[in-house]
């Protein structure tokens, strides 16, 4: 009997020990799988950020070449994330704020607000010509970024017509600005009404400062950015020069409208001018070949004076002089943005010489 009792006790100890052991083992296994799940969650967030950046790069490539076409991208899956864009020292960065590594781009000029949080991204590109095509300027915005056009001139009409599908409306005065539930707003001031120290529109006072911005155009080739600070406007950076030959759908002017501030604008334009220098090298070679073509075949210039429009000395402007001037200015511009304003006159001369070559001389043209 006593033996039996002892046996039962030993059995009870053994059972208790097993349950304790199972509990610990179960806990460890549970912890192990919990760790895996946590790790996996972090990895999928990183993957999402990577996939988004990669897909955005692909979309930008497509949108960049389908110039003049607006692309509406459904980003409803990313509504909880903030996309951010930046440009520093001619390197653009974009990605998901605080998630993964951003993509860097030293080639494509991307003009956009600094932050976008939206269910629909809008991409649009326009060719930049100075006077020949240099590159496509890419504009990135969203359906909840609202643009208010203040002023009533030819550009206002053209801008409103060409931005169909975007969140753009004309306003008669600054107090008509109503941000509604938009993520951010941009006032395009063509009248000079936005000035430092003046009050911001009443309905924008509750919005974050960086979500209320304005661009005020001064003349045809310069503009000033403003940002809300408390209840009044303050200048955001220095005045910027708009380097373009004007005309309809002036890509450089549109780029200024879609850029957050002068830093993003100038940084991206410097990428454009870098490419411009490389293109000039090719056009310089092409000009030499055109010249050689007419020098070696004088019979082709019996009835037309092609060489007069190509070589320096006869007609003003001519391709050789204009291209040399443009090359010099482009070199200076690639060093400092302030020197880029000289490109306007030089490229206008090249444009005139090229037009003359084609229309008056009926000769081969440079571009």
């Amino acid at each position: 009997m006593a033996f039996k009792k002892n046996k039962t006790k030993k059995g009870q100890i053994q059972v208790t020990f097993n349950w304790f052991y199972v509990l610990i083992a179960g806990g460890v296994i549970l912890l192990f799988f919990f760790g895996i799940v946590m790790k996996q969650q972090k990895v999928s967030e990183e993957n999402l950020a990577y996939d988004v950046v990669r897909i955005m790069e692909s979309i930008f490539t497509g949108a960049g070449v389908s110039e003049k076409t607006k692309n509406f991208i459904d980003t409803s899956g990313l509504v909880d994330y903030t996309l951010y864009f930046n440009c520093d020292e001619s390197v653009s960065e974009f990605g998901i704020r605080d998630k993964g590594s951003p993509a860097q781009n030293v080639v494509d000029p991307i003009f956009s607000p600094r932050e976008i949080k939206t269910t629909q991204l809008i991409l649009w590109s326009l060719p930049y010509k100075l006077p020949f095509k240099v590159i496509d300027l890419m504009f990135v915005t969203s359906w909840n970024t609202k643009y208010f056009v203040l002023g009533n001139n030819a550009f206002a009409e053209e801008f409103l017509n060409s931005t169909t599908g975007l969140n753009v409306i004309p306003i008669p005065d600054l107090n008509s600005v109503d941000p509604q539930k938009n993520f951010q707003i941009r006032i395009i001031d063509l009248t000079g009404s936005v000035q430092e120290g003046l009050p911001v529109p009443d309905k924008t006072t509750l919005m974050d400062d960086d979500k209320v911005t304005a661009i005020s155009f001064i003349g045809t080739h310069s503009a000033q950015y403003f940002q809300k600070e408390g209840n009044s406007w303050r200048k955001a950076g220095d005045k910027i020069a708009i380097i373009s030959l004007g005309g309809e759908r002036d890509a450089a002017k549109y780029a200024a409208i879609f850029s957050q501030d002068s830093n993003i604008y100038q940084c991206n334009m410097m990428k454009v001018f870098k490419r411009f220098n490389f293109l000039l090298e090719i056009y310089e070679q092409k000009l030499k070949e055109i010249e050689l073509y007419y020098v070696e075949s004088p019979e082709k210039t019996l009835t037309k004076d092609c060489l007069g429009y190509i070589q320096a000395g006869q007609y003003e402007p001519n391709l050789q002089q204009a291209l040399t001037l443009l090359k010099g200015n482009a070199k200076a511009c690639s060093i400092l943005f302030d020197h880029c304003a000289d490109l306007i006159e030089a490229s206008a001369k090249l444009k005139e010489a090229n037009t003359n070559l084609g229309s008056k001389g009926d000769c081969l043209t440079l571009y």
Partner: protein, 166 residues
Amino acid sequence: MTETIAVLFIFFILILFGIIFYAKYQQVAFKDKQEELLAARAMDSTLKTLFLPELICSKGEAEPEDNCFDLMKLKYANETFGKHMDDYYFNIFSYARISITETYPNSDNKWVIYDKEKVKEDGNGTLVPNWDRREPTYFIVTIRDENNEQGQPEYRLGYLTVEAYS
């Protein structure tokens, strides 16, 4: 005790199987992803090349001609691309070889405008190819020649080849 050890042994064997299976799956998935990325890069490069301002056929202020390369630009593009390959054009095309081949009327004309192969140094210090796959993409293009006897633009037929190295 023996039972417990047996259970543990089987448990760890199962875990090991799981890890091996997952590692193999990841390897295959990684390879697939790499191939997908290579194909996408080849397509992107082709698209970019077709619209390169350095090559496109323009005529003053008019719209550029689609899928057309200007022969006078084409001849000098490789010089510029080569000169600025590392500091600029590599960011557009990465490791790739881009060429344009004329098929009609002359079938022996070929212009290589960009060539950057992935290489590594072997034991002797010689550079040897360092890529596993080459993804070629083709696209039919026209080549505009204005520098001819007729004094009128002449269009030739050819194709663009973009070979992206993995």
